[in-house]
């Protein structure tokens, strides 16, 4: 099947306005008759739930944390992009669009990205109106800084806690709607299934994590805003609870999964210290504004950084990418770090690290200025690594961070299942094969505040509200299925914990489906994953009962889904015989080691359709057309 993104025709700058004019509306008095389920309360989910509530829809918001304010968007540090051009440095909607398409290595959909760039400015206006305390200059105007993959300063920030402040903004808008009675919150609730009636999404099944009860929730439309899946690597910058379950269960119910192999490995994270480690901590990319990345020129140089003279240091990003220097895009910076470590020039325990050095900036700006800009990040680094980055360079190494892939959606953010919408990181649409820094927050809020409120009306206007009740056979079947899985997990009573399986899976994925992928490695991992999965279902040990708060049961359910999803991811990586953005196949590289795309054969979105357990999924393609940014070799030199 050829997938149709349903992009409006005509010139890019006019598409969204015309589409909004042509879409159907729901009468204000009728909105309250519709019920919308929003799963996840990160930037996409909270902004969507709040805005839909403001419009008068009945919204149910589900999240696994105890409060909607804790979703992992809160951990985003650096900033949010917008094409405001406040610094007068040449920015525009067209340039933000161009940078994002190029940054994504020509694997994103032009129409979506242009719309994203268009609404970016409204997001900043909205957030300021909500009271988001963005950084300002002494005259009271908003301040900007630079991020990777751009030569303009278009990033708005709130110290090193931009994600937190934006999420609190969306959470407060959501709280206001709770008081207004339009939004009902469902904390500590985990979505376990999507319920489809006559081919349309009509609700979800969730597990109440406090008492273990399975609950059915009907809806006239479902919005999945459930984030990314990089915890498939076990160690990642994601929160411990971040998972693929909601998206994967939707996939098993027929939603196509697009480009699962596009994962972002973030270049600046604190290196791994040992086997007991549970997560990796990001150090904001904004640090690369003022930090210089280097390793020793000599292999195996064990001297402390201060003893290595200037001419024996290799500032490899500045050397290889003089135009962008330390602000080269994430995929490129991560691979460059891996390369120098593979050459035995890495630093720190195990040689898996590079220096991020602030000495020059401290000399140039003074320690106070550096502290003002990055103080909280330096503090966090010291807590974890026990080193003072004002005195010696930080040690950093790449870590899994973000999923560009996700459920397939059209221009309306609707999946191939009518009534199922997917927003934010959980969809695939805007970042292609690599996301630029400070663009995730932009996309999450764009989808939630400015896109879904229009496009969901287009769907609901043609739908009769409230026709399916929880007594429908599909809901009963869904609950029985979820119950069956839970009882099976509890009955195995094997020898290994869910965490041990997760760690082993993560190790395999990092080794073979991480920063460098090969035909050989992918083939071997595709053999190994089903074996590990089979062992899991025979040998996992899940203590406790079903009718209780049972964190091991929650974890086991998520790991079970990762064990299936990992195979899909490896399969997608194997089929894509090219290198692009975060997907690097060692067989396909330029003589200088840069990613070698194959636009003849792979200029498409890969949408995978579930065909039953044990059967290979079917590949559907959405061809990508680049009418506005000519397909070109990406260069940051």
């Amino acid at each position: 099947m050829i997938l149709d993104g349903k992009c409006p025709s005509g010139p890019l700058p006019e598409m969204w306005d015309r589409h909004r004019k042509e879409m159907k509306l729901v009468n204000p008095a009728n909105k309250r008759k519709y019920r919308i389920a929003v799963v996840g309360t990160g930037l996409a989910g909270a902004s969507a739930a709040a805005t839909l509530g403001e419009l008068g829809y009945n919204v149910d918001a589900f999240f696994y944390q105890d409060s909607a304010r804790r979703a992992h968007s809160i951990a985003a540090q650096g900033g949010i992009n917008a094409a405001k051009n406040y610094p007068n440095d040449g920015d525009s909607v067209a340039r933000l669009f161009h940078d994002t398409i190029k940054g994504g290595d020509f694997r994103a959909r032009e129409a979506n990205v242009y719309r994203l760039a268009m609404v970016s400015n409204s997001i900043i206006d909205q957030c300021v109106a909500q009271g988001v305390p963005f950084a300002r200059d002494y005259a009271g105007y908003l301040d900007n800084r630079s991020f990777g993959g751009a030569q303009v300063s278009r990033t708005f920030y709130a110290r090193g806690q931009t994600g937190q402040q934006l999420l609190i903004g969306a959470y407060s808008a959501l709280s206001r709607q709770v008081k207004a009675g339009t939004v009902a919150l469902h904390p500590r609730s985990e979505m376990l299934d999507l319920v489809i009636v006559n081919g349309e999404a009509k609700g979800i099944t969730v597990r109440n994590m406090v008492n273990g009860r399975l609950e059915c929730h009907t809806a006239d439309a479902v919005c999945l805003c459930t984030g990314g899946y990089t915890n498939v690597f076990y160690l990642s910058t994601n929160a411990m609870g971040s998972n693929v379950t909601a998206a994967y269960r939707a996939y098993k119910k027929g939603a196509f999964f697009a480009n699962p192999c596009y994962t972002q490995i973030h270049p600046t994270c604190i290196p791994v210290t040992g086997d007991h480690q549970s997560k990796l901590t990001l150090m904001s990319e904004s640090l690369r504004n003022d930090g210089r990345v280097w390793v020793p020129r000599i292999k195996g140089d064990r001297r402390s950084p201060g003893e290595i003279p200037e001419d024996e240091r290799d500032y490899y990003l500045e050397r290889k990418y003089p135009a962008f220097g330390n602000l080269a895009p994430r995929d490129i910076s991560s691979r460059a770090a891996k390369e120098v470590c593979d050459e035995s020039r890495g630093v720190g325990p195990g040689g898996r690290g590079v220096y991020l050095d602030f000495a020059d900036s401290i000399n140039r700006l003074g320690i106070d200025k550096v502290r003002e800009r990055y103080g909280n990040l330096f503090d966090m680094y010291e807590k974890i690594a026990d080193e003072n980055a004002y005195r010696q360079p930080m040690r950093i190494y790449p870590a899994p961070h973000y999923a560009m892939g996700g459920l397939w959606v059209d221009y309306n953010l609707q999946s191939n299942i009518p009534g199922l919408f997917v927003l934010g990181e959980a969809n695939f649409s805007d970042h292609g094969a690599n996301r630029l820094g400070a663009s995730a927050l932009m996309q999450g809020l764009a989808d939630g505040y400015y896109i879904i409120p229009y496009t969901i009306a287009g769907y609901l206007a043609g739908t009769k509200p409230g026709v399916v009740g929880t007594g429908h056979p599909e809901f009963i079947r869904s609950v029985e299925e979820c119950e069956g899985t839970i009882r099976k997990l509890l009955s195995i009573n094997g020898k290994r914990t869910a965490n041990e399986f997760h760690r082993e899976l993560g190790g395999l994925m990092w080794e073979h489906v991480g920063m460098a992928r090969s035909h050989e490695g992918l083939t071997s991992v595709l053999k190994r994953i089903p074996e590990l999965r089979a062992e899991f279902w025979e040998n996992v040990r899940v203590p406790g009962g079903e009718a209780d708060l049972n964190q091991e049961l929650e974890k086991a359910g998520r790991v079970a889904d990762f064990l299936e999803f990992a195979e899909l991811m490896a399969r997608d990586a194997l089929h894509r015989e090219e290198s692009c953005g975060g997907h690097f196949r060692v067989e396909y590289q330029m003589p200088d080691g840069e990613a070698k795309r194959d636009d003849e054969q792979f200029c498409y979105v890969a949408g995978w359709e579930f065909k039953g357990a044990g059967t290979a999924p079917e590949l559907h393609k959405e061809p990508l057309k680049f009418d506005n940014v000519p397909l070109a070799v990406r260069s940051y030199k």
């Binding site: 709040a50 403001e54 105890d66 409060s67 909607a68 304010r69 804790r70 992992h72 809160i74 951990a75 405001k84 206006d125 909205q126 957030c127 300021v128 109106a129 909500q130 009271g131 305390p133 963005f134 300002r136 200059d137 009271g140 105007y141 709130a158 110290r159 806690q161 402040q165 609190i168 709280s175 206001r176 008081k179 904390p187 406090v210 929160a239 411990m240 040992g274 007991h276 480690q277 549970s278 997560k279 901590t281 990001l282 966090m380 807590k383 974890i384 026990d386 505040y449 400015y450 409120p453 914990t497 965490n499 041990e500 040990r541 203590p543 406790g544 209780d548 708060l549 964190q551 091991e552």
Partner: protein, 250 residues
């Protein structure tokens, strides 16, 4: 290092809890406190015992989910640090560590170290926002905010809503939490219009939820992992008194 833990175990909201002695062996200095508990839990599962239930998520000190009282101190011994960012290099071989949940009337225990903090959400729902609809707002630079005011707002807005301030307070008061939100929005022109109404609504909600009053112990500031200052409570009080004189708008 080897440690002896005394962990609060409670099977459910109504159940009677107790401190259970649990050995933690082979702990290394570079583990975080929660990674130490992960190791302990793996051991408990393998020996057929029930693992310790505790809240946690981001493990980088920002989501506010982790909530443990360690040796009598919310978030443990390190200043301005959440439990998830506390590392075992702060402890030594042979230490006895007492681990308890947040204790406050407004935070009932759900299980072991997990408590119900939804009362904090309800305080925000009462008025912790600027009442602005999506769309129809002026350009972001149309209203200037003096840098000092923006910085004050940010200092207050750093609150992660973990509730350590409540757990630390002898009165179980949520004044620091409420004050941080009131002060954040009151410092900005965007939040000024509703300042009087907001402080009244939020204070009322706080009292209704069963939180105690502030009697200036300052334990909250000492326990706050984000270093939110008690000066914001003074700000809350000023805003509250001001609001009593501007009731005409009601």
């Amino acid at each position: 290092m080897d440690l002896t833990l005394y962990v609060w175990r409670q099977s459910g909201p109504g159940a009677k809890g107790r401190l259970e002695e649990i050995e933690a062996r082979g702990i290394t200095a570079d583990m975080s406190f929660l990674e130490m508990l992960d190791v302990v839990n793996e051991g408990l599962i393998k020996t057929g015992r029930e693992p310790i239930a505790f809240d946690h998520d981001c493990r980088e000190g920002i989501c506010g989910m982790c909530s443990q009282v360690i040796n009598g101190v919310p978030h443990g011994p390190q200043e301005k640090t959440t439990v998830c960012q506390l590392h075992m290099r702060r402890f030594k071989d042979g230490d006895r560590i007492y681990i308890e949940p947040w204790r406050a009337r407004a935070f009932p225990v759900i299980k072991d170290l997990i408590v119900d903090r939804s009362a904090l959400d309800r305080i925000v729902q009462a008025g912790g926002y600027v009442s602005v609809h999506t769309g129809g707002v002026p350009d972001a630079n149309a209203v200037l905010v003096p840098k000092a005011d923006a910085d004050t707002a940010m200092d207050a807005a750093e609150c992660i809503g973990c509730g350590a301030c409540v757990a630390a307070c002898p009165n179980g008061s949520a004044m620091l939490f409420t004050a941080a939100k009131v002060a954040h929005l009151a410092a900005l022109p965007q939040g000024r219009a509703e300042a009087a109404r907001r402080v009244c609504m939020m204070t009322e909600a706080m009292l209704k939820e069963g939180f105690g009053s502030c009697s200036n112990h300052y334990e909250c500031q000492a326990a706050c992992p984000k270093g939110i200052k008690v000066k914001f409570i003074a700000k809350l009080n000023r805003e509250f008194i001001k609001a009593q004189f501007s009731k005409k708008s009601e």
